[in-house]
C-alpha cells in the first residue's frame, strides 16, 4: 500500500565531514527496526569499501524507514545520506532536489564548518525546511550551547529548538524522529490520478540486478510490468522490479505520489539512463517533463598513464568499469610521447580525482603515473572563437590567442583565529582576492576569490598543515576571468616533453621553469650526448640547464673470451629500454619524468 502524502517525509542529512551524518543515519535505521541489532553494521549506508575506509560518503544513498510517531500515525520516512565533500556537491544538490527538508548535523565540539555552510545554503536554495541537530553531545568537549549560538550567528537560521543528540549513545534519536515528522513538510504536490511523473534521481550498476534506478515519484504510480517512458532519452522500457531500500532492497507492489524507491527495467548500461530525466508511462504520458538537473561538469583534469605500458588495455577496461557507476568521471585516450598511451580524465574535484586513482590502484591493481592536475581554460582566439582547453598540450599557437580565461572560485575558510595570518598569506600567494573577513566567536570566517588552478594543486594540504588541521574549506565555482597566463613547455634537446607542459601565470613562469629544469638535471642520467633541458614560453627559452655528456663509459677490464656476458647485458638493456623515451638522440628513462611530476611544486 502506498502512503498518503501527509504520512510521507522525504529528507536529506547534511553535514561537514565527520560530524556524524552516517552514524546518525544508522541510528535512525536501527531505531525504526530496519535492521536487527545483529545485522547492524557500522555505517550501513557507506557500502563501498573505500567509502568505509575513508569514512566519506561518495554517492547519495537512500533508505525508507517506517516510524510510528507520538500522534499514533505510522509515517514513511525516506532518508538520503549525502556526500559531505565539496567535490560531490553536485550529488548533494541532486539529493536535495528530491526532498523537502534536511537534517543539519553539527558536531557539538567542532561547531559550524565550511561544508556545513555550503550544504546548508544549497538546502535553503532548494526551499528546504531545516532541523538542526547538535550531535556528539556525549563528548566531554561538547559545547552544545555555543554551537547553537554559532548556528544562529554564522548560518542565520533559528536553532533554539535544535535537537541535542548523540549518534553514539542513541540519546535524542526519538526526539529527532519527532522533529522530522512535526517540523519537516510532507511532499508539496502529488496527484494519484494524474499520468505518472517521476524523477530519475540517480542510477548505478548492480552486478545482480543490472542498472538500478533511484526514483522520486511526483504523480501517479510506478508498477511492475508497466511500460515506462523516459522522456529525456526517449526510450520505452518495461519495469521489471519495483522496490525500496529498508535498507536491504525489498520489492514492493508500487511506488506512489511522494514516495522514493528504485526500479529496474532490463537496462544493462547506465549510459542509457540520464540523471534528472523524467519517467512517465508510455501509454499515458505526462505533459511536461520535470526541470531535471544540470549535467555535472568536470572541473579538474589530469592524465593517467600506466607505469607499465603493457597495461594500457587493462587501464581502459578498469576506467570503463568505474565509469559505469560514476557518470561524473570523464575520460578519453591520450597518447603521450613521454609517458606512452593513457587517458585524459576529468573529475569533479581533487578528492574525486584521488578516489578514482586510489580505486584504480586498489581494486584493479594498476600502477599509475598521474600528471599534474589542471583546470579547463577558455582560449579566446584572435579569430573570435573560443576553445575549451582540457590539456595544456593542446594549447594553440600564441599568435592565435587573444586572451586566456581561467576559472575562479568563491572560497570560504573557517579557522581558529591564531592561524588566520598564515592562511591569509597562503591565499595571497595563490593570487587570491579577499572578499570578506568576519568573526564567529573565536573563529574567523574568510571569504576569498581564488583561481581554481591555484587550488587544485596542494592548496588543501597546505591549508590543513598551516592550521594544524583546524581550518575548514569549501568552494563553489564562480566565473571565468581573463588571466595573464602562458603555456610553459619543457624541452629536452629541443623537443617538447608533452607530459610536462603546463599553464602558469606569466610572472611565475621563470621561477617555475628554472625549478623544473634544475630538477630534471638531477633526474636525467648523463649519457653519450650533451642534453639541453629548457623551459620555454611560445618558443622563447626562459630557463635552461645542460647535462654534459658522460666523460667515460666503458668497461676497462679484460674479460678474456667471455663475450656472452657483455652481450647478455646489452640484451637486458634492450628490454629495459621499453621504459625509455627517445628525445632526438637521447633516451630518457620514464622514471625521470615520473619523479619530476611527483615532486610537486615546492
Amino acid at each position: 500500500m502506498t502512503k498518503k502524502l501527509s504520512e510521507i517525509r522525504n529528507f536529506a542529512i547534511i553535514a561537514h565531514i565527520d560530524h556524524g551524518k552516517s552514524t546518525l543515519a544508522d541510528r535512525l535505521i536501527q531505531h525504526c527496526g530496519g535492521l536487527t541489532d545483529r545485522e547492524m553494521r557500522e555505517q550501513v549506508l557507506d557500502n563501498m569499501e573505500l567509502e568505509q575506509e575513508r569514512g566519506i560518503t561518495i554517492k547519495a544513498q537512500t533508505v525508507r524507514l517506517m516510524y510510528t510517531a507520538k500522534d499514533g500515525i505510522e509515517y514513511q520516512l525516506n532518508l538520503m545520506d549525502t556526500p559531505g565533500h565539496v567535490d560531490f556537491s553536485y550529488e548533494v544538490s541532486r539529493s536535495l532536489a528530491s526532498c523537502e527538508g534536511s537534517i543539519l548535523v553539527v558536531d557539538a565540539s567542532q561547531g559550524v564548518e565550511a561544508q556545513t555552510l555550503a550544504n546548508v545554503y544549497q538546502a535553503i536554495d532548494n526551499d528546504h525546511e531545516i532541523v538542526p541537530v547538535i550531535n556528539k553531545i556525549d563528548l566531554p568537549a561538547a559545547e552544545p550551547d555555543r554551537v547553537q549560538q554559532e548556528i544562529e550567528d554564522v548560518i542565520g537560521i533559528p536553532a533554539d529548538d535544535a535537537v541535542h543528540a548523540s549518534a553514539k549513545t542513541g540519546q535524542g534519536i526519538e526526539e529527532l524522529l519527532e522533529a522530522v515528522v512535526t517540523k519537516l513538510p510532507p511532499p508539496r504536490e502529488g496527484d494519484a490520478e494524474a499520468p505518472t511523473k517521476a524523477l530519475l534521481v540517480d542510477s548505478w550498476y548492480d552486478p545482480y540486478l543490472g542498472v538500478m534506478i533511484l526514483v522520486r515519484v511526483i504523480d501517479g504510480y510506478l508498477k511492475k510490468g508497466m511500460k515506462a517512458y523516459f522522456m529525456g532519452t526517449k526510450a520505452a522500457r518495461e519495469i521489471d522490479r519495483v522496490g525500496i531500500f529498508g535498507p536491504k532492497p525489498t520489492m514492493v507492489d508500487a511506488l506512489g505520489p511522494g514516495e522514493m524507491g528504485f526500479i529496474t527495467a532490463g537496462i544493462k548500461d547506465i549510459s542509457e539512463t540520464l540523471v534528472g530525466d523524467t519517467i512517465t508511462e508510455e501509454r499515458k504520458r505526462c505533459e511536461k517533463p520535470l526541470a531535471g538537473f544540470k549535467p555535472s561538469v568536470p572541473m579538474v583534469f589530469c592524465s593517467l598513464f600506466p607505469t607499465d605500458n603493457g597495461e594500457y588495455e587493462k587501464l581502459r577496461d578498469s576506467i570503463g568499469k568505474l565509469k559505469l557507476n560514476d557518470a561524473a568521471l570523464h575520460y578519453e585516450p591520450e597518447n603521450s610521447q613521454a609517458l606512452g598511451m593513457g587517458f585524459r580524465c576529468g573529475f569533479l574535484g581533487l578528492l574525486h580525482m584521488e578516489i578514482i586513482q586510489e580505486r584504480l590502484d586498489r581494486e584493479f591493481d594498476l600502477d599509475l603515473i598521474p600528471t599534474a592536475p589542471s583546470v579547463v581554460y577558455m582560449i579566446h582566439k584572435t579569430d573570435g572563437t573560443i576553445q575549451e582547453l582540457y590539456n595544456p598540450v593542446d594549447m594553440p599557437d600564441v599568435v592565435k590567442i587573444k586572451e586566456i580565461h581561467e576559472p575562479w572560485i568563491n572560497a570560504t575558510i573557517l579557522t581558529p583565529d591564531e592561524y588566520l595570518g598564515g592562511l591569509l598569506t597562503l591565499c595571497e600567494e595563490r593570487r587570491g582576492v579577499q572578499i570578506d573577513l568576519t568573526y564567529a566567536g573565536e573563529r574567523a570566517m574568510l571569504k576569498y576569490k581564488l583561481p581554481l588552478n591555484e587550488v587544485v594543486f596542494d592548496f588543501y594540504d597546505r591549508l590543513k598543515s598551516i592550521s594544524r588541521g583546524y581550518a575548514s574549506f569549501d568552494y563553489e565555482l564562480a566565473e571565468y576571468a581573463k588571466g595573464d597566463l602562458v603555456k610553459m613547455e619543457v624541452l629536452v634537446n629541443a623537443e617538447p616533453v608533452d607530459a610536462l607542459a603546463m599553464v602558469v601565470p606569466r610572472d611565475q613562469a621563470e621561477r617555475r621553469g628554472r625549478m623544473l629544469c634544475e630538477r630534471l638535471k638531477d633526474l636525467i642520467p648523463r649519457q653519450m650526448f650533451k642534453i639541453a633541458v629548457q623551459a620555454a614560453i611560445g618558443g622563447k627559452v626562459i630557463a635552461r640547464e645542460t647535462i654534459s655528456a658522460m666523460r667515460k663509459d666503458v668497461t676497462a677490464k679484460c674479460y678474456g673470451g667471455d663475450v656472452s656476458r657483455k652481450r647478455k647485458l646489452l640484451e637486458k638493456q634492450k628490454k629495459g629500454k621499453k621504459k625509455m623515451r627517445q628525445y632526438g638522440n637521447v633516451e630518457i628513462p620514464q622514471s625521470a619524468f615520473i619523479a619530476a611530476l611527483k615532486m610537486g611544486d615546492e
Binding site: 653519450m528 663509459d553 677490464k557 656472452s564 646489452l570
Partner: protein, 380 residues
Amino acid sequence: MFGIYIHWPFCASKCPYCDFNSHVRQRIDQHVWADAYTREIEHYAALTKDKIVTSVFFGGGTPSLMEPDTAATVIAAIRKHWPMANDCEITLEANPTSIEADKFAGFRAAGIDRVSVGVQALNDADLKFLGRQHSKDQALRALDIARNTFDRYSFDLIYARPNQTPQAWETELREAMNYAGGHLSLYQLTIEKGTPFYTQYSRGDFSIPTNDEGGELYEITQRVLEDHGLPAYEISNHASEGQQSRHNLTYWRYYDYVGIGPGAHGRLTIDGNKVGTRGHRAPEIWLDKVAKNGHGSHPYEAIDTDQRFAEMLMMGLRLREGIKLSRFTEETGQSLDTYIPQTKFQSMIDEGYITLTDTTITATQDGRQRLNGLLSYLLA
C-alpha cells in the same frame, strides 16, 4: 686467426678487487691438471680439425704458479692435435713474486715466448691496498728477468685507485715507460660485485674517482702512451707497431678460439654455426666432468646470426683499427646496414663517436671512451 686459451684457476691468495675465476688451494696435483687439460684439448681438437693455431694463452688465476712441466705438457698436446703457425704466439700471465720470476727460464724452455706480468701499481702503499703479495722492487726485478728471458713481455697496471690524482697517475705512468717493452695493459679499477672491494666501497670505506675524474685519467693515459710510441690499439691495451697481443686480437676481431679449463670461454664455428662454450667454474667439478666426459663444458650455447653480429660489433669497436665491413658479411651473410640503419650511425658520426668508410667502421677515441653508451645506443 685461431687461438687456444688455457685457464689456470688458482692463485696464492685472492686480491680483493678480483672477480676472475680463481681459487686458493693448499695442494694442487700438477699431474692431474696436466692430464685433464690434455684430455679436454683432445676433445676440442676433434671439433676444430681444419684449424691452424696462431696463439696460445695461459691465463688465470695465476698460471705462473704452474710447474713449467705442466705448461710443456699442455703445449705438446696442442702441437700434437693442431698444426701451429710459424709465428705462433704463446703467452703466460705471471705474478711478479720472486718465486714465480725464478721460474721464467723454465717457462721459456717449455715453449712460452711472451709473458704478461701483473704489476698493478708502482708504489708499495697501493700494492698493499690492492692486496698484492709482492713489492714494487720485486715487480721491477720480475720485469728485468722477463726482459732478459722472453722475446716479448707486457705488464698490467690498475689505475683510478682511491685518492689517485691526475698528477700522481701521470708521474707513475711516465715512470712505467722506463720499464716498458712493446706492450702495456692499463685497466681502470672496476668495483666488481661479490668482491671484498664491493662491500667495502658500498659501505663507504673508500671512494674512487668520479666519472669525470676517471675520464681525465683515461685521457692522460692516452696522451702519455701515445707520446711514448705505445698508442692504444684497444681500449685498455697499448703496443708499439707489431707488438699487439695476437691472442687478444683474435677475440676482438671475432675469430674462433678454444677455451680449455674451468670457467674458460670459447667461440667455435662448427659446420657454419657458431657455438659458445663455457667450462664449469669450480676446479674440482671441472676435473670430475673431464674425467667422465672428456670435457668440462656446460652444454654449448647456440649463437644466432643477430647475436654474432652484436658480438662482432661489441668486440671490434674496442679496437682502434675498427671492423672491416666485409667481416660482417663473412660472419653473418648480411651487411652492417641490414642490422643497423644508416640514420642511427649518422648521429654518432655527427657527434664524432664513429667514422664509417666504404670499407671500415671505427669508433673514434671519444667513442671508444664511451663504448658502453655507444653500444647500447646502437644495439639496445
